[in-house]
């Protein structure tokens, strides 16, 4: 990657080889998605076969890659572009400092085996691995942007459904299965059918105490957990434009929770400022050339989308989930709806709630701040601002898991760790942790977890554990009172 990365960006102009088609395309206004899709079509889709789509950056991790390397070995195929592949350890990796830095063996043997296997696979194929003690290690969707590898106009894939996060930079980024991980390792390409487009336009300003997480939960609540099926979402409008990159990543991250293939936001000055000077971002004359290309990526003024949804940010309140999918949410002061269908009642039974009940005031057991949705520096700041000078309520366990080692160090440089530790929270090493509960960071059956992560599926955070999705500040409020609490009540 490195050197060639910048070149790849300039290469995003459709080349002369495809001139006739290219001219025809110039006649019609294009969406950002169409521009990126077309620049990466190696073979266009036809009646007989899907498109062959080129992948600029392939991110891999320990949990969904081992069987892909096995597939390659069984066919005698080597990794075609290790320079376009980056490996990290996050999903099954411990977040306990002793197991990372203290010389204590990794407690979960199966996780240790997966980590060792990725170390072997990466070394054997010349892929760079950000290993256990690497200061650049972290959650795959946090480190890509942080290192400046995620750049506008790229196609990015990973064996993880939250790859949509990278779309915040104006990339086409989506999750793939392990067989497809093998395809990309072998050919740097994927077979894809062109998805449809959905524009989500957000106007107005979020009120105080309302976060990007609340907005995306409200969007999913509106369009439903299958509302984005077969589609790529482009988030647009003044609210999105005013968002920081961290906030944009939170929104794009959860596109998959609406069933969407990907989520995207057009790159602008906020994007460029974020990327400027990052280790893998282009520099010097390359930066100027890249910038000129990136500025042309936004959807054309008259671009058509297959469907469109509009929202007013001013209507959004702090949200919390009450059920077992991310579409089952209510404003934190609201009541669970009254419904009597089987799936709804099954979900409420699992959660230990009744139709029509209010959630505010209900006791919680665990608070988790972390995950590729909400583990960046601004998320930690939002939680720490509310916690400063306060304590985690008795009987509540609070875990704070930074998205990357770099986020951890940056937070420590600001003294955020002292706020968390002083309040009685656990300040851990980076990783997916209790978002997916593979590494042993789990909650016990029946426990209520207020979580800044992305999924409240049954058992997601531990067998029988009950997840309540919320923003970092809402999670911090629950930690302080030990109850589901509107964070605005605690804000000075």
């Amino acid at each position: 990657m490195r050197e060639s990365e910048a070149d790849g960006i300039q290469g995003d102009h459709p080349g002369p080889a495809r001139e006739p088609l290219h001219l025809a395309r110039l006649m019609t206004a294009q969406s950002m998605f169409e521009k990126i899709w077309r620049a990466h079509e190696v073979v266009p889709e036809s009646g007989e076969s899907p498109a062959v789509l080129y992948v600029d950056l392939h991110l891999i991790h320990e949990v969904t890659s081992p069987q892909a390397f096995t597939l390659l070995r069984s066919r005698g195929i080597s990794v075609r572009r290790p320079d376009r592949t980056l490996a990290t350890l996050d999903h099954a990796t411990p977040t306990d400092s002793q197991q990372i830095f203290g010389g204590v063996p990794i407690r979960l043997e199966s996780a240790a085996r997966q980590i060792a296997e990725l170390e072997r696979n990466a070394a054997g194929s010349g892929i760079e691995l950000l290993g256990l003690r690497d200061e650049r290690r972290g959650i795959v969707h946090v480190i890509g942007p942080e290192l400046g590898m995620t750049q506008p106009g790229m196609t990015i894939v990973c064996g993880d459904s939250h790859t949509s996060t990278h779309g915040a930079f104006g990339t086409l980024a989506f999750g793939i299965g392990t067989t497809e991980v093998g395809h990309v390792l072998a050919t740097q390409c994927l077979l894809q059918h062109k998805p449809k487009t959905l524009a989500v336009e957000v106007r107005g300003k979020l009120s105080r105490g309302v976060a990007a997480k609340d907005l995306v939960l409200a969007i999913i609540g509106q369009i439903g957990v299958a509302g984005g099926s077969g589609k790529v979402i482009e988030y647009r409008g003044e609210t999105i434009r005013a968002f920081s990159m961290d906030e944009r990543m939170t929104v794009c991250n959860m596109s998959i929770e609406a069933g969407a293939r990907a989520g995207m936001i057009a790159p602008d000055e906020t994007t460029f400022e974020y990327l400027r000077g990052r280790p893998q971002a282009p520099s010097g004359a390359d930066w100027d050339r890249a910038l000129a290309t990136w500025r042309r990526l936004a959807s054309d003024k008259d671009a058509k989308f297959d469907s469109e949804v509009k929202l007013d940010a001013a209507d959004v309140e702090p949200m919390i989930s009450y059920g077992t999918n991310p579409g089952m949410t209510i404003p934190i002061g609201g009541n669970i709806p009254m419904r009597d269908d089987e799936a709804f009642l099954k979900a409420l039974h699992y959660m230990g709630f009744a139709p029509g009940e209010a959630l505010a005031g209900k006791a919680v057991d665990v608070v988790f701040i972390g995950s590729c949705t909400n583990s960046r520096l601004s998320d930690l700041r939002a939680a720490a601002d509310l916690l400063r000078g306060r304590k985690v309520a008795g009987g509540v366990r609070m875990l704070v898991v930074p998205g990357s080692q770099q986020v951890k160090r940056a937070a420590e440089a600001e003294g955020l760790h002292e706020v968390f530790i002083g309040a009685g929270a656990e300040w851990r090493e980076s990783g997916c942790s209790m978002c997916v509960g593979i590494n042993g960071d789990t909650a016990a059956a029946g426990r209520y977890v207020v979580s800044t992560s992305n999924r409240n599926f049954e058992g997601r955070q531990g067998q029988g554990a009950r997840s309540l999705l919320a923003s970092p500040v809402t999670a911090a409020a629950a930690a302080i009172t030990g109850r589901i609490t509107d964070p605005r009540e605690l804000m000075a």
Binding site: V42, V52, V63, T179, C189, K346, I438, E458
Partner: protein, 192 residues
């Protein structure tokens, strides 16, 4: 990958909507480096109680489900995590087709790449299937039809390329590798 032409079986019906891949294959079993034997973890938290005993009321554990290879699921099956362990586990358990009105994108892609047939049917057919568990069906991939016990036929979509791969038991990697000259040309033209 096993070729599929026709699947004849009675159905297992799991009517819940929005069954996600965390239910199909709970995350704690993901620390495997193999794709063999994953059927043991299929729907683990619904099949087994906390001490590992079978929950007799769960549909997969009922005697009439033994030997069935068609799963009829509620709408929007397979959302959430991209884990391919979900179709691997279904296949290892003996399921060869999943029928619903909608199937999540990543699960759908993962299924066809492994010879698990995702079958999307209309609302009426789906309703009939949900209310007639154990019905003997014939799924014909070549004709893209599901035949109900009374002879009624419902059509289902399958794009040409995936259908070809499934009918012949070939995977997509061979085709992608045959595209390498075009891939190299694309890299040269775009300095990738």
């Amino acid at each position: 990958m096993q070729a599929i032409r026709r699947i004849r079986s009675r159905t297992i019906v799991l009517p819940a909507a929005n069954v996600d891949t965390d239910q199909v294959f709970p995350a704690r079993f993901l620390t495997t480096t193999s794709r063999q034997g994953l059927g043991l973890a299929l729907f683990a938290d619904w099949r087994f109680d906390a001490s590992g005993g079978l929950r007799p009321e769960f549909v997969l554990n009922r005697p009439e489900s033994a030997g069935c290879s068609i799963l009829v699921a509620g709408r929007n099956f397979g959302g959430g995590s991209s884990r391919e362990h979900a179709p691997w586990a279904l296949l290892d358990y003996g399921i060869r087709a999943v029928i619903s009105t909608s199937i999540a994108d990543i699960f759908f892609n993962n299924a066809v790449k492994n010879g698990l047939l995702p079958v999307i049917v209309d609302e009426d057919t789906h309703q009939w299937l949900l209310t007639h568990p154990g019905a003997e069906l014939e799924i014909d991939l070549e004709a893209m039809t599901v035949t109900l016990p009374d002879g009624r036929r419902a059509e289902f979509p399958m794009e040409a390329f995936a259908r070809h791969c499934l009918l012949h038991g070939v995977d997509e990697l061979g085709y992608l590798i045959s595209c390498l000259p075009a891939i190299e040309a694309h890299e040269r033209a775009n300095a990738r």
